[in-house]
C-alpha cells in the first residue's frame, strides 16, 4: 500500500513526547520501542498477519450477494450475525422492532436511516450493550443473548462508538495495548509478578506498533490520546478495536466529525479490513461514503428495516425515498399545506 494520505498534526505544541524518563512517571509496561527500521512492505505484511481472518474469501463473499433478493430481512448465503424478532421499547416508544436481519460474512454492510430511526439502538442491541425486550441474536452460529457486553469481544465482535472514546489520559500505545484480549497480566494476582506477563506484553506491544505503523500513527505513539484531533481519535479507536483480533467490526458513525482529507484515508482502511476477510457493519449518515465503500445496505426507519439491497439500488427504492423525504415530497402542495 502506498502512503500518500496526509498526516494530521493539529496540535504541534503537544506533539513532543512527554518526558517519560522521570522515575515517578507511571509508565505502563515494558518498552519494546517503536520500530522505525521497518519498511512499508514489512509493515503491510505485519498488518495482514495481525488482522487476517482465516477461511474467508472476501471476493467470493461479495459475489454471493448477487443472488440475494432486495427485500427487508433477506436471507444471506453465509451470515455471520443473525437477529430475530429484536424489540426494544423505551416506555411507550418502540425504538427498534426488527423481524429478521442477517449480515453477510466478509463484506461491508452499511446501516443507514434518518435521524431517530433506531440505528444506534439496534447497534447496541447487536453488541449486547443494551438488552432487548424480546428477540434472539446469533453470532457465528452461537447464541449471544446471554453473553455480557464485555464478553462479546472475546467472541470476535468488537464495536466503536459514535462519540469517540479515546482514553485521553493514556498514551496512544497504552490505548492500543489495552485492546488485546486474554492478557495474563490483567489478573490482579499475576500483575505483581512481571515475569509472568512480560513476554506476552512484548508481543502485544509489537502487534500494536505494527498496527500504528499501518494507520500512520506511529509518530504519536507516546502522546496522550487526549491530544489527538477528532479524526486521529477515530483512527486510534479503529486500530485499538483491531487489537482484539475480531472477525467482525461494528463502526458507529466512523466519519462523524472527521475532516475530508482524513475521510479518504479512513475509507481506505475500512475497505482494507474487508479485503483481509473481516466483516464490517457500520452506521453512517454520509450517503457518498455509503455508496463508495459498502457492498450491501440496510435501511431503517421508525425502528424497522424498510429496505435492503446493493448501494446502487437504494436511491431508487421508493420506501427509502419516502422515509428520508416524506411520502408526498414531489407532489404539489395544496393550499392547506402551503399555509
Amino acid at each position: 500500500m502506498t502512503d500518500n494520505s496526509p498526516r494530521e498534526d493539529d496540535y504541534p505544541a503537544m506533539n513532543e513526547t512527554f518526558d517519560r524518563a522521570s522515575p515517578f512517571a507511571d509508565d505502563a509496561g515494558v518498552k519494546a520501542g517503536p520500530r522505525p527500521d521497518i519498511s512499508d512492505e514489512e509493515a503491510d505484511a505485519a498488518f495482514a498477519e495481525v488482522v487476517t481472518v482465516d477461511g474467508v474469501d472476501p471476493v467470493a463473499a461479495r459475489a454471493a450477494l448477487a443472488d440475494v433478493p432486495w427485500e427487508p430481512g433477506a436471507p444471506k448465503p453465509d451470515p455471520i450475525l443473525v437477529a430475530d424478532g429484536v424489540v426494544r421499547r423505551f416506555g411507550g416508544l418502540t425504538a427498534v422492532d426488527v423481524d429478521h436481519v442477517e449480515i453477510q460474512r466478509g463484506v461491508i454492510t452499511a446501516l443507514i436511516g434518518p435521524n431517530g430511526a433506531g440505528k444506534t439502538t439496534l447497534f447496541n442491541l447487536l453488541t449486547n450493550f443494551d438488552t432487548p425486550d424480546a428477540g434472539t441474536r446469533v453470532f457465528n452460529d452461537k447464541n449471544i443473548d446471554n453473553v455480557a457486553a464485555h464478553n462479546i469481544a472475546g467472541h470476535g465482535m468488537v464495536r466503536t462508538f459514535q462519540l469517540t472514546k479515546a482514553l485521553s489520559k493514556m498514551t496512544v500505545i497504552e490505548n492500543m495495548k489495552l485492546g488485546a484480549t486474554g492478557q495474563k497480566g490483567e489478573s490482579l494476582f499475576r500483575s505483581i509478578f512481571p515475569f509472568m506477563w512480560r513476554k506476552q506484553e512484548k508481543e502485544i506491544e509489537e502487534r500494536a506498533d505494527d498496527l500504528l505503523i499501518h494507520f500512520k500513527m506511529d509518530h504519536m505513539r507516546d502522546q496522550f490520546a487526549g491530544t489527538l484531533s477528532g479524526g486521529q481519535r477515530k483512527l486510534l479507536e479503529m486500530a485499538r478495536a483491531l487489537m482484539v483480533e475480531p472477525e467482525m467490526v461494528m463502526l458507529d458513525e466512523p466519519m462523524a466529525g472527521v475532516n475530508p482529507a482524513l475521510t479518504q484515508s479512513l475509507l481506505g482502511h475500512v475497505t482494507g479490513l474487508r479485503d483481509q476477510g473481516m466483516t464490517v457493519l457500520f452506521v453512517e449518515h454520509d450517503m457518498d461514503m455509503v455508496q463508495e465503500i459498502s457492498d450491501w445496505v440496510i435501511v431503517m426507519a421508525e425502528g424497522q428495516i424498510i429496505a435492503e439491497g446493493p448501494p446502487a439500488s437504494i436511491g431508487e427504492n421508493t420506501a427509502v425515498v419516502d422515509a428520508y423525504l416524506g411520502s408526498h415530497h414531489d407532489s404539489a402542495l395544496d393550499l392547506d399545506q402551503e399555509l
Binding site: 515517578f24 505502563a28 485521553s168 497504552e174 489495552l178 490483567e186 505483581i192 512481571p194 496522550f224
Partner: protein
Amino acid sequence: MDYQAIIESLFRGLIGERFIVFALAAIGLNLHFGYTGLLNFGQAVFMAAGAYGLAMTVVTIGPAVNRNTGLNMSESTLFWVGIFMAVVVFPLVLALLMGIPTLRLRADYLAIVTIAVAEIFRLIARSPSLDKWTGSSDGLTGFTSTFYDLSPFTTTDRYFFNLFTGNQFFLVLVGWSILALGTLLCWLMIKSPWGRVLKAIREDEDAARSLGKNAYSYKMQALILGGMFGAVGGMVRAVGFSVAQPDNFITDVTFFVYVALILGGAGKVFGPLVGAALLYAVLDSSDTILRQLVANDYIPESIMSGTQVGQVRFMLVGLGLILLAAFRPQGIFGNKEEMALDDR
C-alpha cells in the same frame, strides 16, 4: 522561641505515625479515585474497619468465642487473628456490601452509599446498646500489648533525635515497612496490564467493556484492595493511639485523606506519600509555631489566643489548598498537560 520544638514537630509530622496512617489510607483512596475513578467518600469507614477488626477480635469477640467454644486462644493468637480480620475480612465484607449494589450504576451512587455507610458504621459503633461489643463512645482499649511486647526498644528511652519513645519508634518503623511494601505493591500493580485496565475504566467504562474488560469486576477489585489499604491505616492508628474509638473516624477523616491525595497528586504512585507528609508537616509545625508566637507575645492576645491555634492552623491549610488549586491544580507530582486534557 523554642526552635527545637518547632523542628521536632515538623519532623514528627513528616515521618510520624499520623503521616503513616494517612499515607496508607491515601494509597487506598488513590487506587479508588486516582486510578479507577471511584468516588469513595467513605474511606474513614475502611479505616474504622481496620481499627475495630483488630480491637473487637482481641477484646470482645475473641474472648466470647473462647468462652462459648472452649477454644482457649491466647491473647497473642487473638492479636494475629485480629490482624487478619482487620486487614482482610472486615474491609472485604464492607467493600462487597457497598460495591454490589452500586458499582453497576453511575459513579455518584457509590459516593452516596460510601458516605452514608461511613456514618452508619460510626453511629452503630457509638451506640450504647452495643457497649458490650464496641465499647460505644469510649471505644475499646487493651489490644496492643502483644504488639508492643515485640518491641526491641526500651519504653523509657527516647529514640531518633529524641523524637519518639521506644514504643512510638517501634510503631513508626513497622509502619514505614508496611508503607514501603504497600507502595511497592501499588507500583507493581499500576504499571501492569491490570493497572492499565483500571485507568481505562477511569477514562471510559464503555470503551473498556467494548474491548472485553469486565469493568464491574475490576471496579470491585479496586474497591476491595483500596479498602484494605485504608484498613491497614486505621489499624496502625488504633495501635498507635492504643484505642479504637468511633469519633476518630468521622467524615472529616475521609476529607483529610482526600486533601493528602490531591496535594500529592491523584493517580501518581508517590502522590499519597508526599501529600500526607506535607499535610501533617504543615499542620503539626504550624500548630507549634503559632503556640510559640502567642506564648512569646509576638501575636497579641487581642488577635489570637492560645486556644484558637487549633482552628487557625486549619485555616492555614485551607489557604494552602486554595493556593494549590490556583497555581498547581495537578498536585505536586501531577502532570499539567495530563490535567489539561480534561478541558478538551
